[in-house]
């Protein structure tokens, strides 16, 4: 028995750890540090229909226990991802979660159709919550009806299991979660980044060229935990939890809150080995808690 095994729609994971979308590119860079086969899954950088350069720089800024980013969904476009990035990943025996972004419903649907053709994409992650694109994007993440309609249309366009990635920038995360569940989502990913800003005293201007950016890292962990705690009690689809995870102890807290797997984002920038380190540490933390398998912990805080 593998104590760390978790099984989610489309994602049979030998451990519950995946790098978060946008924080791991398409894997190549971190493959220079360790064997990607160690990972439970990989969430790849958001794909859009057309190639995107993204926002002007500076694109990142540091905050207390966190960071802001406004990359702006830079990516080579779905065609090149299918032609070059995904085939490279075929050498690994790790499920791939393909993150999809767009500004109009059409974009999403077309991108999903194309990427679903790749043989090694196991599930889709619908990014309805990117705060860094001016047109649409986050609007889908704050309006339940819009989120539900997009979910429905994407489900129609692909047979792959669909995870909807929720925005924390909303008063009613449970409402959105239920709406997309009803519309056919197979799982949820949460949370994406909180909208934030830093100002440079010397210039009097925002540090990021884009003005605002998305806040991630340990600072947002309590917000993520609270939302997962609430949403996991209200829906019956599994949740991929994320937001500030840095250690195996953090992973356990996310499971107790209600997550069934987790993603690690910002922490990769601080320690490129963070994912394998967490995977290595997890059994010890389970031992301390006298727990056999990690999935025993799912939702323990409210069960």
């Amino acid at each position: 028995m593998n104590r760390l095994q978790v099984d989610l729609p489309g994602l049979s994971m030998k451990n519950p750890i995946m790098p978060a979308s946008g924080c791991f590119g398409f894997g190549q860079e971190y493959a220079e540090f360790y064997d990607l086969n160690k990972l439970g899954a990989i969430a790849i950088k958001a794909a859009t229909f057309e190639p995107r350069f993204g926002n002007p720089t500076p694109r990142v800024a540091e905050t207390a226990s966190g960071m802001l980013n406004a990359i702006g969904l830079q990516n080579p476009g779905v065609d090149q991802i299918v032609a070059e990035k995904l085939p490279w990943l075929e050498q690994y025996d790790v499920p791939i979660l393909a993150n999809i972004a767009g500004s109009a419903m059409e974009d999403y649907v077309e991108t999903v159709k194309k990427i679903s053709e790749a043989p090694n994409v196991n599930a889709l992650e619908l990014n309805i919550s990117c705060p860094n694109v001016k047109e649409g994007g986050i609007a889908f993440g704050t309006k339940p009806e819009l989120a539900a309609e997009l979910t429905k249309r994407v489900k129609e366009a692909s047979e792959l299991p669909l995870y909807v990635k929720l925005s924390p920038n909303t008063a009613d995360i449970v409402g959105i979660a239920k709406a997309v569940e009803e519309a056919g989502a197979d799982g949820l990913s949460m949370i994406n980044t909180l909208l934030g800003m830093r100002i440079d005293r010397k210039t009097g201007q925002p540090v990021l060229a884009n003005g605002a950016g998305g806040l991630s890292g340990p600072a947002v962990k309590p917000v993520a935990i609270r939302m997962i705690y609430e949403v996991s009690q209200a829906v019956s689809i599994p949740i991929i939890g994320m937001g500030g995870i840095q250690s195996a102890e953090d992973v356990v807290e996310f499971f107790m809150a209600g997550a069934s797997a987790v993603a690690v984002g910002t922490a990769n920038f601080i320690d490129p080995f963070v994912c394998p380190s967490i995977i290595e540490d997890l059994p010890g933390v389970l031992d301390e808690l006298k727990v056999d398998t990690i999935s025993d912990l799912i939702g323990r805080s409210w069960k």
Partner: protein, 258 residues
């Protein structure tokens, strides 16, 4: 590309808010290319989360000792400035593509132009070029006398001109002014400093062989997060890019938009 713990062997303030930090560790053996940088955890009394990119200013391969020179700006560099001999620092590196050292042929002259905290990587570069018998010249720009550093060290390697913006030391003005005034001859130009300086150099020497080292705010510094991208010259789609951390920080003139 290695993650390693290195030990501080010494630190001193060599100009106003400018510190020279020496570090020792096995990883230093890998640091053979001038212009590369390290990404380090500058933890301490002031909060930091991300790593900080700092150039390799000098390397003593035999003693596995690395020298960095940095200016105290914010929390990270403030923490660094409080490190003492014996303290351990977590470092990722060497990273990026540095200056080509095999480019200059015998008899060629290389002009090294540095501005402020762009000066440090040029020292290792100059030493390596000089050791190969290449003729090196230096133009170093600072804002004022208090911030000038390493003039003597560069002088020992070749002709050196110092400029200060306020004229409190050396020639008043920018590095480009000094190049013009002294009509400095060279075959290859290598520069590191603030983007406006690099732009001025590009404009003044569009047809020379030149290499520019760029600075950008970084996240991962290994090419994954796309924090540090620059546009590519002549790219009509606008979607092409280079990563300063991985494809750079050094680019040949004309490759990327400054």
């Amino acid at each position: 590309m290695i993650k390693a713990a290195v030990r501080v062997t010494g630190q001193q303030e060599i100009a106003k808010d400018i510190f020279e930090l020496r570090l020792r560790g096995e990883v230093v053996r890998e640091m053979t290319v001038p212009g590369q940088f390290v990404h380090l955890l500058a933890r301490g009394g002031f909060d930091t989360l991300l790593r900080r990119p700092i150039s390799i200013a000098d390397v003593d391969l035999e003693n596995r000792e690395l020298t960095m020179i940095y200016r105290v700006e914010g929390n990270g560099t403030r923490n660094l400035s409080e490190k003492q001999a014996g303290d351990v620092i977590d470092l990722l590196g060497p990273l990026g593509n540095g200056f080509p050292v095999d480019r200059p042929r015998n008899g060629q002259t290389v002009l090294l132009v540095g501005g402020g905290i762009g000066v440090p990587p040029l020292y290792y570069l100059s030493k390596r070029l000089a050791a190969k018998g290449v003729k090196v010249k230096h133009v170093l720009g600072f804002s004022s006398e208090a911030e000038v550093f390493y003039e003597k060290e560069f002088l020992a390697l070749g002709e050196t001109h110092v400029t200060t913006v306020d004229g409190s030391y050396g020639q008043k003005g920018f590095v480009t002014d000094a190049i013009n005034k002294h009509q400095i001859d060279f075959d290859i130009l290598k520069a590191c400093g603030p983007t406006p300086m690099l732009r001025a150099l590009e404009q003044q020497h569009p047809h020379e062989e030149a290499y520019f080292s760029l600075e950008q705010r970084m996240g991962c510094a290994v090419g994954a997060c796309l924090a540090c991208v620059v546009h590519v010259q002549g790219d009509e789609t606008g979607a092409e890019y280079r990563k300063v951390c991985k494809d750079g920080p050094v680019f040949p003139i004309g490759e990327v938009v400054l």
